[in-house]
């Protein structure tokens, strides 16, 4: 018996979210009186694999197979299911990101394992096994009992802290019984932006809404984001107007995020927008309308015009943070 955690890599490297998963898996394993094993797919070198041990993982199963260079949900699912069976895993933990959302439900059916998705804290109990997940688009939480023998948890990003429990993780090669003929996904093209902080990874997000008035007014917002090491985001009307690219849209139908700090500038705070950002640890609202609903979701607010307030915030950060 063990807890299995799937740690995705990006060009051979893990991210903070991978170590959050490892920390979480280690804690769940402690609750069950067992240990955590990670499974990694792709070309990741041994020192990177071993770094998972810093967060309590005892063993890393490493799968290197060229058939897996294209992300094919069906084949990836087979690999993780085999790893789970080999380990006798009772709980499987995966990130609640695009990859996790593609794999966890397939694994659920393959292993007849109940799934708790978008979980943001440790299970409330392990017998019965009860997890807490987001429901009604952030307007509620649900306590869900997972009733099957094997359980799957997808962990919401930035919802669990890193816990260092250093140990020397054993790295083992694992060769699942898959071959190229199983891979049905054909990759035709990849378009990647580089150098941009991803909204879903960012600990601080600076976001602009209709109150920014025009696409031409974004420079001070971007500057503030740069100074804070933040990602930039926007509300739906802004991306619909084409002022900002669609991948910056945060909200119920766009990206759902949970940074440490979300700064909403000129965003009134429609229910659908709040649904996408309500898990942020702190929300700052800057809006010219003192009755805007965003102030109900925020901890800090300024009633004022974005065009006037933003440049002063930029100056204040430069002065106080010494940049």
């Amino acid at each position: 018996m063990s807890v299995l955690v799937f740690t995705e890599n990006w060009d051979g490297k893990f991210k903070k979210s991978s170590f959050e998963l490892a920390s979480y898996a280690t804690k769940v394993a402690e609750m069950l009186g067992t240990t955590a094993t990670a499974v990694s797919i792709g070309n990741v070198d041994d020192s990177e694999l071993k770094s998972l041990g810093n967060y309590g993982v005892k063993k890393v199963m490493c799968v290197k197979n060229d058939s897996l260079n294209v992300h094919d949900s069906q084949t990836y699912t087979k690999v993780i299911a085999e790893a789970a069976q080999k380990e006798g895993a009772k709980v499987i933990i995966i990130a609640n990101n695009n990859t996790g959302k593609a794999l966890a439900p397939r694994l659920s059916v393959r292993l007849k394992a109940a799934i708790g998705s978008g979980v943001n804290k440790l299970p409330l109990s392990v017998n019965p096994f009860v997890v807490v997940k987001r429901a009604y688009s952030g307007n509620a939480y649900a306590q869900v009992a997972l009733k099957s023998d094997i359980k799957i948890i997808t962990l919401a990003q930035n919802s669990f802290e890193l816990i260092e429990t250093p140990n020397d993780a054993a790295v083992e090669a694992f060769a699942p019984s898959i071959d190229a003929s199983m891979v049905k996904t054909q990759l035709k093209d990849v378009q990647k932006q580089s150098g941009k902080i991803l909204i879903t990874d960012a600990e601080i997000v600076v976001s602009g809404g209709r109150g920014m008035k025009s696409a031409d007014n974004w420079a001070p917002l971007s500057e503030l984001a740069n100074l804070l090491g933040a990602a930039t985001a926007c509300s739906r009307p802004v991306s619909d107007e084409g002022w900002r690219p669609h991948d910056e849209h945060t909200g119920q139908t766009g990206k759902i995020i949970a940074p440490n700090l979300y700064i909403a500038i000129g965003i009134s705070g429609a229910t659908q927008h709040i649904a996408g950002v309500s898990s942020s640890k702190f929300i700052v609202a800057i809006n010219s309308d003192k009755d805007a609903p965003i102030f109900e979701a925020a901890q800090y607010g300024i009633v004022g015009d974005a065009a006037k307030v933003l440049p002063q915030l930029v100056e204040a950060v430069k002065e106080l943070k010494g940049k």
């Binding site: 695009n98 139908t253 700090l261």
Partner: protein, 249 residues
């Protein structure tokens, strides 16, 4: 080719969420029910594909697992333009059960493309689409923001961290779609509403499939502390609070 769009019946997204029965049931009193927003976009894209005869789409059907009270939502999908509908007459218990019911219909009716929205706005599980694919052993593509048919082959755009990938998979397959798949949801016209009255909703009884999860209780989020206001004449104070009080920058 035949397309099936999976439809979830959800409270209007502006609903004030409340619970009854000791916080174990959603309080549906006075709630307006709608097609789940992502499913509505999926239906729109399916109909757009059918509009172009060169794509060879012969029918767009919708499926819903739920009791008779959800028929107005199904009729709305028919009014928007779906050709016919399937309803599995069961109270949806959990994603595993719902996906199992849908797979049975896909198996017997032989659809080539199954569309599912990325999540339902009520339970936010993001699970049914990929579960259907695994029940049927079909390929699935997630985070789909574009789907076209070129020379009989489906060309799919999916979102990855910091970019996009263009992929193709052979039919039959499941596409789990999100923002970008269609610009605006298609709205029912008067003619569509009239036609919808005579379109078929094929009702079937559920097959025996386990539920693997159970809701213990719902909780409402803790109300946030009252917003601390900073004078617009002194924004510097905000940065100081974020540094020294919240300690987030």
């Amino acid at each position: 080719m035949k397309i099936l769009v999976c439809i979830s019946n959800v409270p209007d997204t502006t609903t004030k969420v409340k619970f009854t029965d000791n916080n174990t049931k959603f309080d549906a009193n006075g709630v307006q029910w709608v097609i789940n927003p992502w499913d509505e976009l999926a239906l729109t894209r399916a109909l757009e594909l059918k509009d172009n005869a060169a794509n060879g789409i012969t029918a767009v059907s919708v499926i819903h697992v739920g009791n008779a009270s959800s028929e107005p939502t199904i009729r709305k999908a028919l009014a928007i333009g779906a050709d016919d509908a399937y309803r599995v007459n069961a109270e949806p218990t959990d994603a595993y059960n719902v996906a199992g019911q849908i797979s049975e219909i896909v198996k017997s009716e032989k659809f080539d493309i199954v569309f599912c929205g990325i999540e339902s706005s009520d339970f936010n599980g993001s699970t049914v689409g990929s579960m259907v694919a695994e029940f049927l052993d079909y390929p699935s593509v997630s985070a789909v923001s574009g789907l076209n048919i070129e020379n009989g082959q489906t060309v799919i755009t999916r979102e990855i961290d910091g970019g996009k990938e263009v992929v193709s998979v052979p039919a039959p397959f499941v596409a789990i779609v999100q923002k970008g798949i269609a610009k605006e949801p298609r709205i029912a016209a008067m003619r569509g509403i009239m036609q919808a009255r005579t379109k078929a909703i094929k009702v079937s009884e559920p097959v025996a499939i386990d539920s693997l999860t159970e809701i213990v209780t719902f909780e409402l989020p803790q109300p946030r502390a009252k917003c601390k206001m900073v004078d617009a004449e002194n924004p510097k104070q905000l940065i100081e609070l974020l540094m020294n009080e919240a300690k987030v920058i």
